[in-house]
């Protein structure tokens, strides 16, 4: 391999992190289903534990198959490295737990996946980590919410469920002026639609369960680091991030930012976070997600093409009050979507039925191709009613702040023939119309 720059997306999706197996000649990524790895000698064991030599010790910390997945995601994101986790929620927790402790504060978008909102609003507050939620488009709100104990700004590339496009260039600038990193959940967009690092984000995570895997078969997550955030500068200026910039008694007195200028965050996250919290990914899961990543661009193109057709159909249907898809000019984030998501705004979006709750229920139950379940990013089309499922813990005020009503229905558009999806929706809308 040679050239003037990194290879293209599709080449990386197939080759990054792997080569034909030297021992067997296997071309596909071998699946290393093993908990642990034999030491060559006592001296070798000691040097691995002391980070004098690189290698695998125990699959909670690292595994050769899982490492291929991690390196491939890092390559596709344009980052320095990544850590695979048991789920997307585990990736979010790993990012926060690496940087925050009791007394820390986070500024987060109010338009979050319900599970992320639960973690920040309810669970982490029990551990002394507070969060201020701001509307994703309120740049002054982001700036004003930063406190001396703020450690992180956090949002989703496409807010859930209204699909507000996160203004990563401006929010990252606000974060960096305060010597803070911006963490972005890019699950709905994948690196094929946007690479948040190119726009200023510092940390990116995915629920790999969704489009990266793409087949609805496994649960997993991944957290990537751009390697560009200067933790030492933040520490010198504001005393932030001693976890990375001061000796850590829990791991050889290591100062992670000295060990690796660009890998300090990932070192701490792996050496402490995976070691102690243990939310690692199974190598079997990593292997399955790798099969999905190899066709990511092909699938995302089709997901987006189908989503555009469905969104346009719904937007012109008399029983539909509104469609929240940024590709449509009517969406408040349309201009930002054109700027940051030129390949499309994904294939998960919501729309509002004009009718009653009863009609909404009739609509969902009449669908034959769309499956009613709590997931997105499957190759099959999916549907859910957020107010009674993913966001059911929110009161009406919080729902309204997140842009959800009782009639909101979320779709995840799959890879079926678009005409069949439109027929399914037409039939269900007709059923809903009769259900008044």
């Amino acid at each position: 391999m040679s050239g003037y720059a990194d290879p293209g997306f599709d080449t990386l999706a197939l080759h990054a992190g792997t080569a034909p197996d030297a021992a067997t000649g296997a071309r596909a990524v071998p699946l290393h289903l093993t908990t642990s790895f034999v030491f060559e000698s006592s001296e070798h064991a000691a040097s691995l534990f002391n980070m004098e030599r690189p290698g695998h010790v125990y699959s909670r910390i690292s595994n050769p198959t899982t490492a291929v997945f991690e390196e491939r995601v890092a390559a596709l994101e344009g980052g320095a490295g990544a850590i695979a986790t048991a789920s997307g929620q585990a990736a979010l927790h790993l990012a926060i737990a690496t940087l925050c402790g009791a007394g820390s504060h986070i500024v987060a978008s109010s338009a979050l996946y319900g599970g992320s909102h639960n973690l920040l609003h309810y669970t982490l507050s029990r551990f002394g980590i507070a969060t201020t939620f701001v509307k994703p488009g309120d740049l002054d709100g982001w700036r004003a919410a930063i406190r001396p104990n703020t450690k992180l700004l956090f949002g989703e590339t496409l807010g859930n469920p209204g699909l507000d496009v996160l203004d990563i260039p401006n929010i990252s600038q606000i974060a960096h002026e305060a010597h803070l990193p911006l963490l972005v959940d890019s699950t709905l967009t994948t690196p094929y639609l946007i690479k948040p690092f190119e726009h200023g984000a510092d940390l990116v995570y995915h629920s790999a369960t969704k489009f990266l895997s793409g087949h609805g078969t496994v649960v997993g997550g991944v957290l990537a680091d751009s390697g560009l955030f200067d933790w030492d500068a933040a520490h010198a200026k504001h005393g932030l991030f001693p976890e990375l910039c001061e000796p850590y008694a829990g791991f050889h007195g290591m100062t992670f930012s000295e060990e690796s200028t660009v890998g300090a965050f990932l070192l701490r996250a792996r050496r402490e976070g995976l070691r102690d919290f243990g939310a690692c990914m199974s190598p079997h899961t990593a292997w399955l997600i790798l099969q999905g990543i190899e066709t990511l661009s092909l699938r995302m193109e089709r997901h987006v093409a189908n989503a555009r057709k469905v969104a346009q159909f719904l937007a012109s249907h008399p029983l539909v009050e509104s469609v929240g898809y940024p590709d449509l000019e009517s969406h408040p984030s349309h201009a930002l979507a054109k700027q940051l998501l030129p390949r499309g705004a994904g294939s998960v979006f919501s729309f509002n039925l004009k009718g009653s709750r009863k009609q909404g229920k009739a609509f969902i139950e009449a669908l034959r191709i769309f499956s009613h379940l709590a997931n997105v990013g499957d190759c099959r089309s999916l549907v859910i009613h957020p107010a009674s499922t993913t966001h059911f813990r929110m009161d009406d005020a919080a729902l309204a702040q997140a842009g959800i009503t009782a009639g909101t229905i979320r779709l995840s558009i799959g890879l079926e023939d678009a005409d069949d999806l439109l027929d399914d929706l037409k039939r269900a809308l007709k059923t809903a119309e009769k259900a008044q």
Partner: protein, 267 residues
Amino acid sequence: MKLIVNNVEAYAYTGGKPFDPALPCVVFIHGAIHDHSDWTLLARWFAHHGHSVLAVDLPGHGRSVGQPLADMPALARWVLALLDAAGVERAALVGHSMGSLIALAAAGQAPQRVSHLVMLGTAYPMKVSDALLSTARERPLQAIDMVNSFSHSTWAPKPSYPGPGTWLHGAERALMRRTQASQTGRNLFEHDFQLCNSYDQGLNDAARLTCPSTLILGARDQMTSPKQTKELAAALKARVLTVDAGHSLMTEAPEQVLNAMRQALGA
């Protein structure tokens, strides 16, 4: 570890152990727009196997403050001054790429103070193409991508560096971008590559050496081709060890490089 060298604060990584000037000392010198973190695994190994270690950040790079120095002799003098500051009389000098030329120049200036010379990913002369120099001058971020691409021989180095999960292309690009950005108002990339390009005293410096010397080369190095080392190797009477890697051999093949380093230093 902070040191005062020529009245300016300098940083050297000591391999995870307090520096002990009484032990055999190994000085690691990084390449253009890099820093000490290229060496941390090797530095930790030697620091925990009977050596004292100074993996330096050159002036204006990484954690060492001050301006980047003007030429190779000045950098060589800086390395010798660093030894003075650390209380070290004699050390093994180990350098990668630009750092290998600094090590050679320092050994040429004070051969009695150098116990071993180890040059990794090296060539002499280390000529830089006009195209790269002009790109470095006009579009340094693009030049970083070019050098980054040419420095790696694989998309799948195992087990990666400093450990699994690191995408070396991205990590090295991030390091170069950060190092470049740290010098506001100065194009450090162009500065460092000009230093390599203009150093023409390599054979004279080599002729003054009295210590054993070793070249550790990447068989697939596209930046400093192993073919460009024959004259230097002859002048140094150097042992030449080759590892299966590109120019970024310490990160692409850390185990092979450790084995070669142990041979070079008799460790």
